[in-house]
């Protein structure tokens, strides 16, 4: 999180509980997210009307699994085809290395100004801060990202970065930072941003974008968008740099239409986005526009570690639609910034621990009621609740230990408590006498049990154990003349 200018609101996953507390007490945040998420959920539901959704999800999962099964081969094939098309391919072990690669490309062109299309990977690696330290201005061009950047914030949603802001707040930001009139007229504000950003597109030395799907078979980079800023970013400046995680590759071109259909409907309930932009080479001889140089930066940043484990592997299927956060009762209430990570919501809670380590993110896997909504709506059927449970286990040292920071939440007290419980529960005699004693002494149960009793009354052991009740019941039933009473009791 280094390199952020002073005064910027900073959120960190270490402070999840405090940030959640603050967000829950902020009626504006609650209202903005509630309204947006309700709309997104109903739009998604309607958008799959014509489809056999289960079959399509099955295919989506299958395409992603196939890509992951052949990942190293596909990455090499992607590289070979991109290079053959004239796209230069770079590999980065982590975000810092990726930042360095992008900066060096910029410097080799003497670039002072970079225009950016939406890219969560570039957020993940803090590219803007890195470029600015090197004296290169990086300007976001997606309207939501632009607003968030003007307001010195980070995105609160991976698809709709400015979802936490309402019209009045946005009007105020544009007025303060760009001198527009205060107005609730969305068309006016949009037109103003268009005007401001068009100048910047023309002046930009380099365009930086993300990638939604990278097609190994043809060496094609696919970008999904509505605004046209992605097309501008990848067409107007003389140099285009695309940054993406190594998991974004798909095998064939025919794999793309089903994933695209799933992505747009799951993300915003749209049957299609305005633009689907497929880039396979820089400007060729005789062509009149488009960048003369195209670079692809493939970023690992912990992904190859996730790849090692059969269960965790499913995390890498993600196509970044955001449906899991749109449907998450926790995300909807605490908002995106609370998580303190680039990727918020359920996908963030299963991805961030690998990118940042459980030391930083230990609270995120518990930021879920395990209601299962995220897994049900995931277009590629990632078993998100299972992965949350797995990371909970890892955080207390009960997993395989292959997640960075595994065991960070393990405490002697908790281990001893569970060991004791385990012993008790597997020794019936001790269990029975133990519970009987607890029932007798129920009046002594403390009324305050830490945070648990902040909003609840303390539980008391029952006077008679369930076990004893059942026994008594069975004893009384054995005196019944026939089994008819059994029916009546129902």
């Amino acid at each position: 999180m280094s390199g952020q200018p002073p005064g910027v609101e900073t959120y960190t996953p270490r402070e999840f509980h405090r940030q959640a507390h603050d967000a829950l007490g902020n009626p504006q945040i609650r209202a903005n997210f509630r309204k947006a998420m309700d709309g997104l959920m109903s739009k998604r539901r309607d958008s799959f009307d014509d489809w056999d959704l289960e079959t399509l999800r099955e295919l989506g999962a299958n395409i992603r699994l196939r890509a992951l099964a052949r990942l190293p081969d596909l990455l090499e094939q992607l590289e070979a085809n991109c290079e053959a098309n004239g796209i230069r391919v770079h590999w980065a072990e982590d975000g810092d290395e990726a930042c360095r690669i992008v900066r060096e490309i910029c410097e080799s062109h003497g670039a002072r100004s970079v225009i950016k299309g939406k890219s969560m990977v570039s957020e993940e690696m803090h590219l803007n801060a890195h470029l600015e330290e090197a004296g290169i201005e990086a300007l976001e061009s997606d309207l939501g990202e632009y607003l968030v950047q003007l307001n010195q914030q980070t995105p609160s949603h991976i698809i709709m970065p400015a979802i936490h802001l309402n019209t009045d707040e946005i009007s105020e930001i544009l007025h303060d930072k760009t001198g527009t009139e205060r107005s609730r007229d969305v068309d006016y504000m949009t037109a103003a941003a268009r005007q401001q950003l068009r100048e910047r597109f023309m002046a930009a030395d380099v365009g930086v974008s993300g990638v939604n799907f990278a097609v190994a078979e043809t060496g094609t980079l696919c970008l999904v968008e509505n605004e046209g800023n992605g097309r501008m970013t990848t067409t107007v400046p003389p140099v285009h740099v695309a940054v993406t995680g190594i998991e974004k590759v798909v095998e064939q071109l025919r794999d793309v239409p089903p994933l695209y259909a799933l992505l747009t409907r799951s993300a915003t309930g749209q049957h299609v986005t305005t633009y689907f932009n497929m880039i396979s080479s820089p400007r060729k001889e005789g062509e009149h526009d488009g960048p003369k140089e195209v670079h692809l930066v493939l970023v690992d940043s912990g992904r190859s570690r996730i790849y090692q484990d059969d269960e965790l592997l499913d995390t890498l299927r993600c196509i970044r639609c955001g449906a899991c956060m749109n449907h998450c009762p926790v995300y909807t209430r605490v908002g995106g910034h609370t998580y303190g990570t680039t990727y918020p919501g359920p996908i963030g809670s299963i991805l961030s621990p690998h990118l940042m380590g459980l030391e930083e993110t230990k609270d995120l896997p518990t930021a879920s009621s395990l209601c299962g909504a995220c897994g049900e709506v995931c277009p590629v059927k990632i078993p998100i609740p299972d992965l949350l449970v797995r990371l909970r286990k890892e955080s207390v040292g009960e997993g395989r230990g292959n997640v960075p920071g595994a065991g960070i939440k393990r405490t002697r007290k908790e281990v001893a408590a569970w060991k004791g419980f385990q012993w008790l529960a597997t020794h019936p005699g001790a269990w029975r006498s133990g519970t009987a004693v607890a029932g007798k002494l129920r009046a002594l149960t403390p009324a305050k049990l830490g945070a648990w009793t902040d909003y609840r009354t303390a539980p008391k052991p029952a006077g008679t154990t369930l076990h004893a009740l059942v026994k008594r019941h069975q004893a009384s039933k054995s005196h019944e003349p026939n089994s008819k009473s059994h029916e009546e009791e129902r």
Binding site: L56, E93, T218, P258, S280
Partner: protein, 226 residues
């Protein structure tokens, strides 16, 4: 070891062993079996739902429809190609019209500001369209470069009704996209839009505010019922 080799090595020496790749069944993405009328109706409904305007016209008289659109929208400067039949026919039909024709077969570096600031509309051909989503597909060429469907505030696209396919998957398969992709392939489904300000839809945020699709029907087509 280079980052490349280190990453590939880790992926290849996977802790839990090699993975087996499943076969995929793409049936759900194809075989819609729509009639031409259904295709047209779907295309028009979907592109209309995102503010795309559709004008149906007999192919022999399509340039009259174009002139009508230009007049309606108050277009004074129209950017268009030269060689593609759509561009060539438009040029000859508009030779005497009160519309200035702007050549696009120039390197963008020579006329960027002009393109951004003083072109009212861009005219392009299309290679086809997709009924299921109301999408046009374009492979920009030196004759019709990438930016003329993006930078001017109005994009006029000419579509032949018989190039309409059912699904994106069908287009990719039947037109052999995998055999050779162009520099840039595009699906365009409506004018540029955003909902980044409190979910309120606004058009023309970066690209065109308006998209007009002139759908050309072969002489005896039943599609021009309106």
């Amino acid at each position: 070891m280079s980052a490349r080799n280190a990453i590939l090595k880790r992926l290849r020496e996977r802790l839990d062993g090699p993975l087996s790749a499943p076969e995929s069944d793409f049936t759900v993405a194809t075989n819609r079996g729509w009639s031409q009328e259904e295709r047209l109706a779907r295309f028009e409904r979907w592109i209309g739902s995102v503010h795309g305007e559709v004008v149906h016209v007999d192919e022999a008289r399509w340039t009259e429809a174009l002139a009508g659109v230009l007049a309606d929208k108050g277009v004074r400067r129209l950017a268009l190609g030269k060689r593609h039949p759509v561009a060539a026919e438009a040029r000859s039909a508009l030779a005497d019209a009160d519309v200035e024709l702007v050549d696009v077969d120039r390197d963008i570096e020579q006329w960027q500001r002009e393109q951004f600031e003083s072109v009212d509309a861009g005219l392009t051909s299309t290679r086809g369209a997709i009924a299921e989503t109301g999408s046009l597909w374009l492979w920009p060429t030196p004759d019709e470069p990438r930016l003329i469907s993006l930078v001017p505030p109005l994009h006029i696209a000419v579509l032949d009704a018989d190039t309409l396919a059912d699904t994106f998957f069908d287009v990719v398969e039947r037109h052999g996209w995998a055999d050779g992709m162009p520099t840039n392939a595009l699906l365009i489904s409506g004018p540029s839009k955003t909902a980044d300000i409190e979910q309120t839809l606004a058009y023309g945020v970066h690209g065109p505010r308006e998209l007009v699709v002139i759908v050309r029907h072969a002489g005896d087509s039943a599609g021009i019922s309106r």
